[in-house]
Structure formats: C-alpha cells, structure tokens
C-alpha cells in the first residue's frame, strides 16, 4: 500500500503533466488586484471598485486586457484600429455643415406635394376666419364679431318632409 510502489511511477510521471497546465499569460498580475477590489467593494458597500466583479462576470474582458498587456503585436493593432476610428470620426466631424445643408436642400415639400394635389381642391380651401366654418362645435350665429343689437341674422333653409301617413 506504500506510495513508493514502482508500478505507480509511470502514473506519477503522467500526473506531472498537470503541472504544465497554466492559466492565461498575465493572469496572476491582476488576481490580487481583483481580490482587493472586491474586498473594498464589499466593505464600503459602494460600486466604486467594480473592476473585480466586472472581470469575474466578463472574463473575456480580462482576457482582452491581458492580451493587450502581453502581446505587443495585438496591442499595436488595437491602437492602430483605435486611431483609425478617431481619424474617421474627426473627418466626419469636420463636415457637419455640408451634411446639414445637403439635408436642408432636399425639397421636403416634394414628397408632400403630390399628396396635396391628389386631394379635392374644394376641400382644401381654408376660410380666412376659422370661426366661420360650420361645424358642430361652432354656433350658427357668430356673436363675437357683431355689436349688441346688430347681430347678423343668418337664415337657413330647412325642410321638414311630411310623412305620407
């Protein structure tokens, strides 16, 4: 039952393979920082130190940062991409007026005009005084524009059809 039995030597050497399994490069550079950040966040009860929880919940973000830290080529490519984005933004930002003018110069009425033209002309005539429109909410006699005693009389033709009964 002794551990020194020779028939386990081969197994022990195979188990030594486990010692070569290592976490992503740079992992241990940030681990203690994350632990301390989480302790501080727990003590203060604030969200001031979010990095620990953030990295714990989003390990891909940590891997990205570690890749930037450990792979100069990747970091250079990332920096180049960021510069390209900034340059593109700057170029776009220099031409806001031309873009705005282009938008303003587009005749907006062109799209509306056919709709107006297709409507009945008579229906589109607007009276000068909207109060004169005969609707169910406007009075037949307009007292507002006439002095007392000179109220205009408006007659309307009515017909009461008599039933044949």
């Amino acid at each position: 039952m002794s551990e020194q039995q020779p028939n386990f030597e081969s197994l022990r050497r195979l188990l030594a393979l486990k010692r070569h399994e290592t976490p992503p490069a740079g992992y241990f550079n940030n681990l203690s920082r994350q632990v301390i950040a989480r302790i501080r966040a727990g003590e203060t009860g604030t969200e001031a130190e979010l990095s620990g929880r953030l990295f714990a919940r989003m390990p891909w973000l940590l891997q990205l940062l570690q890749s930037l830290e450990t792979k100069p080529v990747f970091a250079g490519g990332f920096a180049t991409a960021m510069c390209a984005v900034l340059l593109f933004g700057a170029v776009i930002a220099e031409r806001p007026e031309s873009t705005a003018q282009a938008i303003l110069q587009q005749p907006a009425t062109q799209e509306v005009a056919p709709l107006v033209a297709s409507a009945t002309p008579a229906a589109m005539v607007q009276p000068a005084n909207p109060m004169l429109i005969d609707t169910s909410t406007n009075p037949v006699i307009n007292f507002a524009s006439a002095p007392l005693g000179q109220m205009p009389v408006s007659a309307q033709f009515t017909s009461f059809p008599l039933s044949g009964n």
């Binding site: 081969s10 992503p24 241990f28 302790i39």
Partner: protein, 207 residues
C-alpha cells in the same frame, strides 16, 4: 483579534517566517496592502489546487477569488494554530468541494494550455513517443484524457492525488488540510492511483 503568541508556530513547532506573521497581523487589523502581499504570495498555489480539482479555468478563477475574500473576512478567527498557508488551503479546499457537490451533473472541462516547458520534459515526451501503446496520442489529447480520468474520482480521492502528486504536499500537510489522519490520506491515495492506473492503462508504459 490579536494573536496571543508573538511568533506563530505551526503544528510541528517550527517558527514560520516572521514577515508572514507580520503580514497576517497587519491584515487582521484591516490593512489591505498586507493582505495583498499575502494573496500574491499564495495565489498560484491556491489557484493550481482549485484548477486541478475543477479542470476549469473560469471556475478556478471564481473559487480562488472567493477563497481569498472569505479568508480575509475570517482572518480575525485565525489564531495561528496552524500555518496561515494551511489555514488558507483549508478554506479553498472546502469551498471547492462544496462547489463540486453542487455542480455534480454539469461538469465540463475548460483546460488551460500547456506551457512551453512541456515540450522539453523528457518524462512527458516518453508518453507520446514510439514506446507508448497509443502512438497517435498528442500531449493535448493526453491532457484531456488525464483530466477526464481525474474528474471520475470522488472529490476526496481527487484532492489527495492533486495535493500529493501534482502539488507535492506531504501526507502530513494533506492530513492537516483535509482534517483527517495520515492513514486516511495514504489509503485514499492508494485507491485513487489504482483507479487512475486502470483508466489510463492505454497511455501508461508497462513497468
């Protein structure tokens, strides 16, 4: 809150390095810089143990962090009866075993990459050489088979193998971490090795 003895002693009576005692005392007083130093000192060993128990980097990362956080919260209860390292190990191991019991039926491997040195390890290269019955086995395949076999073991048996054959802890240290006697450690180790040898017979050279 303060340790009674000026110098902490481990179970065998030997004094621990004084700087560790100082760091532990300062950390017990709430000094996070001191605790940061302790985390950096033991993070690799704690992570390795948890990782070899779970075979999953993300789980190992979470459990390692939580173990250190729990240790800090419980630091005032640490009286120096054992070394800080053994005490810390015990927290990490208990946390890992509880975690493994909870996720019993959804184990998935997320193995870490092998480091560069593995290509120069003569013992390991022998396993994928012509002498190996499975000649087509690559190191990464071997890694996966080995981890799958380890995950078949029960948690106590796997822990003994990891602590002894991978981490290099002595039987006495393992007994302290697992809070059992040395005889139990030895019998678990023997049984676990027998099991592994049977499962990995295709990859082991006949002795």
């Amino acid at each position: 809150m303060i340790m009674a003895e000026p110098v902490a002693r481990n179970d065998s009576g030997a004094s621990t390095p004084p700087d560790e005692d100082v760091l532990v005392k300062r950390a017990q007083g709430g000094n996070l810089e001191a605790y940061d130093e302790l985390v950096q000192r033991y993070q690799e060993r704690i992570y390795a143990t948890v990782y070899h128990m779970t075979s999953n980097h993300e789980d190992a990362n979470d459990l390692t962090q939580e173990s250190f956080i729990k240790a800090f919260q419980a630091l005032k209860s640490f009286k120096g009866g054992s070394t800080f390292y053994t005490w810390l190990y015990r927290i990490a191991v208990n946390k890992t075993i509880n975690f493994l019991k909870q996720r019993k039926n959804r184990i998935h491997l997320s193995l870490n990459d092998l480091d560069f040195n593995v290509e120069h390890d003569p013992d390991l290269l022998a396993f994928v050489s012509d002498k190996t019955p499975r000649r087509e086995a690559t190191l990464s395949e071997l890694q996966e088979k080995l981890n799958t076999a380890l995950m078949k073991l029960s948690e106590p048996h796997r822990l003994v193998v990891v602590l002894h054959d991978v981490q290099g802890l002595s039987h006495e240290e393992i007994a302290k971490v697992m809070d059992c006697n040395i005889g139990t450690v030895r019998s678990r180790l023997f049984y676990a090795r027998q099991q592994l040898q049977a499962w990995l017979s295709d990859y082991l050279k006949p002795t």
